[in-house]
Symmetry: C2
Subunit: 773 residues, 2 copies
């Protein structure tokens, strides 16, 4: 039903491309992206490429408030659209072979290969160029060190196979880079400083002053070049926003000539502006002294450590194996929790679309993975990020004329920077996810101390928003929430979206619980400063008791919103392949009126508050909604995989797993050329851990209920749970759980199991209940 576009070989630890795909070049560029949390880039070529491509290098936390573009302005819109900005191209190395510029778009080449080595975090490219019967072998290696975050390294190796000749390398730094998605084709950068001499150069760019008074950033890229080969001459040139070296060498048939380009990427987020160049130079000197091999080794060792904790092994399904590793690799390349000023952008360092750094995706989809695969401070950093942005959230609510805090749909600072009214003004369920993340964190880690100050600040502010956003329907004597867009963005401006109402009421209930907890444990010193009145608390309570939830008695399902059942209700399976994805093939009018659901909506609520619904409720709603769901949001398949697994719908769970795990590798949504779907990359992990292995953590109790897909021999993964380091292995006939930490009690298939410190438990794999199917 969906046409896939798979460009890459299936290998457990690598993404391999053996053909230069000029037609799908951008798609391959996205997939071949590298990142190290501090910076990242698309899989661009170092040398010239005259075909269609998208040069993209991005630095974490460096953004620009682009002038907004809307049709007709609506009151409440933010003033600017915050953008991750495309920055200095520091990987560039133009290459002239015998005075002819190397350009793979127009060359005759053979033995082309590009490999993303996920185990070691290295991108390599190799090919043989044939020019007038002269054959030259080229091999390029690139990595962004995760041991030394400000360091990028390129090794460019050339061997003339059947001739003697010349090569010219022109390593350069080019600051004349523009966002493709700039609303007014505006350049966001100005040059501040540049210097160049033999084998080195430096370029400092600064983001333009802007009328919105958001911070500006300085970015310095500093390069040093080493050559292993017979250099004939070196010259340098300096142009507007550009510096380069021009290095001429003699080539001898069969002999290798190698250029090493080391680049330091430093910004005034981390250093004084005046020090940027020197810091870069020092960093390069220090590292070059170590030598290429040592730098690479240190980088790889860090990747080994990451994989040691987080790797998920799957035996018997190479595509599934490659998919989960690709997701984890790109996710960790984007964010590994070291910097609490950062968050997880929807495209990471792989593209520009969507703008902004932070979406509700972080809380809804990414937090569980970081809770389970890193130390608690990483997850806490994600929460603190939102707490720090509370002022922005107050601002957003005020913009709508409402009390309390409205966390933004898209932001860098807490202030909303997206503007489509149906999203910005209406997709307010995001506020529920922010509150839910606090519950999730505290419940998972047991760190109730977080509630005392930051937690209650955010919870009470969100609750105040909900209490002002509802209205009372006098006739029906219920509270309602009108004019919202639910998680299903294929419907806008609906009334009483069940999920939004659910999360609003849940937030109010949880906030009331937390207040009670703080008060009864004498932890309410900070709480008292928040001026919550009795009337306010009473109103919150009343809303939780009198909220309206659309429900259909006949179908015994929760109704997505007031008039959903009035639609022409048909299954997505009736759509033809030519119509998919709908968002590219159908008019918006047709999409809005159709019953087709972009991503989990009612089911998103059953996923979050899983423990509050019966299996029968989950089953009925899943059976009703999933067939109408087109999963055209990258966030959709994982939620369905988890629920399908719980319901014993193993085939559906397996299908959804593949869809989320290989979303970008197989370009399911036909938009990976714009960049990878970073924030939904936790989906594969969620599908395996919460889905196939059935991990649940509600009410501070850990449980599993694993099954194994029919085609798999085994799968295994590790999780960090409080002070336990747990390894779970599921094979055809058994489940093996071992743990490091104090004695652990958990639930396995509904039965309590004790695992002693450093102990292991093995029990038989249980077949899923299928009575409900």
């Amino acid at each position: 039903m969906i046409t896939l576009n798979r460009l890459f070989d299936v290998e457990p630890w690598k993404i391999v491309e053996n053909t230069l795909n000029t037609k799908d070049f951008r798609l391959a560029e996205s997939v071949m992206s590298l990142g190290n949390g501090h910076m990242g880039m698309r899989g661009n070529f170092e040398e010239k490429y005259s075909g269609d491509f998208h040069q993209g290098s991005y630095i974490a936390g460096v953004w620009f408030p682009d002038k907004t573009r809307v049709g007709w302005w609506k009151n409440g819109y933010p003033n600017y659209f915050g953008k991750v900005i495309n920055s200095t191209n520091f990987i560039g190395i133009n290459v002239l072979l015998n005075s002819q510029e190397l350009d793979l778009f127009s060359e005759t080449i053979k033995d082309y290969s590009r490999e993303l080595d996920m185990k070691h975090g290295v991108l390599t490219r190799s090919f043989t160029v044939i020019q007038d019967k002269k054959e030259t072998s080229v091999k390029v290696t690139r990595f962004l060190s995760i041991a030394e975050k400000e360091l990028a390294v390129i090794k460019y190796e050339i061997i003339p196979l059947n001739y003697d000749g010349d090569v010219t390398f022109i390593p350069y730094l080019d600051g004349d880079i523009r966002n493709e998605d700039s609303n007014y084709e505006e350049d966001f950068w100005v040059e501040v400083n540049k210097e160049v001499s033999s084998f080195e150069g430096s370029l400092t760019m600064k983001t333009k002053d802007n009328p919105f008074n958001t911070p500006t950033f300085h970015l310095t890229t500093t390069m040093k070049v080493e050559i292993d080969g017979p250099v004939r001459s070196v010259t340098s040139s300096i142009e507007n926003e550009y510096v380069d070296n021009q290095i001429d060498l003699e080539l001898t048939k069969g002999q290798s000539t190698t250029l090493y380009k080391y680049v330091a990427v430093t910004t005034d987020r981390d250093h004084e502006v005046g020090d940027l160049v020197q810091v870069g130079k020092d960093l390069l000197s220090k590292n070059i002294e170590k030598g290429y091999q040592q730098i690479l080794k240190e980088h790889q060792e860090q990747w080994f450590k990451r994989w040691e904790i987080a790797d998920v092994e799957i035996d018997g399904d190479p595509e599934a194996q490659q998919g989960i590793r690709f997701n984890l690799f790109q996710l960790f390349s984007t964010y590994y929790g070291e910097d609490s000023r950062l968050n997880i952008g929807p495209k990471g360092f792989t593209g520009e679309k969507y703008g902004g750094a932070t979406y509700w995706d972080t809380e809804a989809y990414a937090l569980p993975l970081y809770l389970a695969t890193a130390t608690p401070d990483v997850a806490e950093n994600l929460l603190r990020y939102r707490h720090k942005q509370l002022d922005g959230a107050f601002h957003n609510a005020r913009q709508q004329g409402l009390k309390g805090a409205l966390y933004p749909m898209v932001t860098f600072t807490g202030v909303e920077c997206h503007n489509e009214w149906e999203i910005t003004f209406e997709e307010i369920h995001r506020n529920g996810a922010i509150a839910y993340a606090i519950y999730n964190y505290v419940n998972y880690t047991g760190d109730k101390g977080y509630l005392k100050r930051n937690g209650i600040d955010v919870l009470s502010s969100i609750s105040r928003f909900w209490a002002d956003r509802v209205h009372y329907n006098n006739k029906k004597e219920v509270y309602m929430i009108h004019g919202v867009t639910g998680p299903n963005e294929y419907e806008n401006n609906v009334n009483n979206n069940w999920y939004t109402n659910l999360m609003a009421v849940w937030t109010l209930k949880y906030t009331l619980e937390v207040i009670e907890y703080l008060q009864s444990n004498n932890l309410d010193e900070h709480l008292k400063t928040l001026d919550l009145t009795d009337a306010e608390i009473a109103k919150w309570k009343e809303i939780t008791e009198k909220m309206y939830f659309p429900y259909d008695k006949e179908l015994d399902i929760f109704v997505q919103h007031d008039t959903f059942l009035d639609k022409d209700l048909i299954h997505a399976s009736t759509l033809s392949p030519e119509e998919r994805p709908l968002n590219q093939k159908w008019s918006w009018d047709k999409i809005l009126r159709s019953c087709f659901i972009k991503q989990a909506d009612v089911l998103q609520g059953m996923y979050f508050l899983n423990h509050e619904f019966t299996l029968s409720e989950k089953k009925k709603n899943f059976d009703f909604y999933e067939p109408m769901t087109v999963h055209e949001s990258s966030l959709s398949p994982s939620i369905h995989a988890v629920l399908a697994a719980e319901l014993g719908l193993e085939e559906k769970a397996f299908e959804m797993y593949h869809r989320t795990a290989r979303l970008d590798l197989d370009n399911y949504n036909n938009d990976t050329e714009d960049g990878l779907h970073i924030t939904s990359m936790t989906g594969a992990w969620l599908s395996i851990v919460q889905g196939f292995a059935g991990m649940r953590t509600a009410n501070e109790a850990l449980s599993f209920a694993p099954f194994i897909p029919a085609s798999w021999n085994f799968y295994q993964f590790n999780i960090v749970y409080r002070d336990h380091y747990i390894k779970l292995n599921v094979c055809k006939d058994s489940v093996k759980i071992s743990q490091q930490g104090s004695d652990l009690t958990l639930t396995l298939y509904g039965e309590k199991v004790q695992i002693p410190s450093e102990g292991t438990v093995i029990i038989p794999l249980k077949q899923k209940e299928t009575t409900l199917q």
Copy 2:
């Protein structure tokens, strides 16, 4: 409740400003606009003005497809946004008094006065400038001839009151003009030709080539200057997109010096490109030969003729009198039906906002006036305009994936050129107004021949659209229309907007009637070519029988849309003045969720299909909806005035009349600085003729049921009805109707009345029934 901003004196035939309002300069510029159907302009000063102002001259039918600006693209959006374009400034005359440039923003002046003389179609300005005790009296007269449409005339007279000195006049043509609302600050014009010599000059501009393949336009402005005074020297200069003369004169104390600037404004819409300059010169020569006084006289005579037919006299209420004349003046300045390629833009020639030439306003609000105050061919031209654009309407429907014709919200060519999804994709009720206009025209004029070809083309195409746009609700066994925006644009994406459903069903019924009429009268030759199948016809019939209309039994009202009654229903009178207008003070989110109604919605249906509803139905719905209506669309008050009058709510009718009649004069909606609300200017006329006088024409029967507002002594107006020319005079105690034409039977207060050819009938004024109140 509403704060008014009245800058002008109240006079029956004039708009007079006695203070130079630098703060509200744009507002005054809008009100002081002139137009002659071929061209028009804001009330800009001829000489330099360094304060805030908006230079605006517009030429009918000359437009440009501006690159669109939206937030996130939605499938189905049009490619461009069509704009009326700001054109060469041809009125400009810089003036130097004793070498000092005249600039009213910074001068000391006294006796300032600006007058728009509506009876004669002339704008004058007079003032005395005081520079170093030297006093100079200035008087400027400007008109755009309606006798010679391509001719503009300015008379600029100077008298040094207490000194001898110099004056320099610099009459110029400036083509370097840009739309303020250009999306990308783009210039839409390029220079093609210019020439200048003593006392004359010419400038030809061409609209830029555009990537959308819409037509380009050439605009030539040609000036000739005459001087009545002692010329010392004349020089000319030519610059980029600019030509001028510089004329130095000696001034003698107490003696008048006068400059006449005659400008011909010619375009390739009317002439060959190569002839434009010569045509302009010939036109100027011919007219200058006549002399200023004669040109003015011919212009004024045409205005007398217009007023003779259309003037509405009101005795006892100077504000009301001024209001209706201002509306008629500006309306006729925009469109007087001479050119079937043109339509009535929402801002006419007075501003840029909204873009586009044609809205549903024409059919819904303007057609009745042109039907009654002009020969039938004028109204037919408005219909033909839409018939000619049927291909565009097919295109628009295809863009949404739908069959048939969807007339655009905003257009020049029939192709939609507006893009806010909630308007373009959803405000489809406009299609109903296009169909209704055909009924209105045929019913009013009796010209059934129009149905044979053009009429049935449009009706069947719109019906095909409706039949594809509805969906069948299997559960409730009714047809529904989801995802629409009704006339109340303060709600978007609602389901089953009662008005939209009503007009859809009405269109289908009327189309079926017309088909039956054509078939049974052997007029179906063209109809047969339209390939309407029996199944299609049957489907249409079924929809008319099974359409769902929201209705509340308890309140006994038609419900605006499915969930309207779930809102917090409060009256607009509870809003504070600081909150008005809502669209400027409230967030869009708050507006959408509120019950407040921008303009007649359910009541719009009761206005159009007035004869299909009982008085009791009208009363109940009026009483329910009007109190929630904020009338923030300029189209709102008139409809409410008509219905209030019918319901005997005389005070409400009177309030609504004033609001529509003086909307711009008193700047009710706080946006007149952007331009006048041209298309809603028929509102005052509708309020008097259909409201106070109760004129109805449904079912080919003419009727009246007049009342007179308490403060008025009498009012009278004329209408053309078929071959009758009818004059109606309503005074405190009687109604007098006289007519020219064959014997006429009409209904007066429900009773048949015969008026013989050239006869008059006088009957006592009847008091309104108030039993329903």
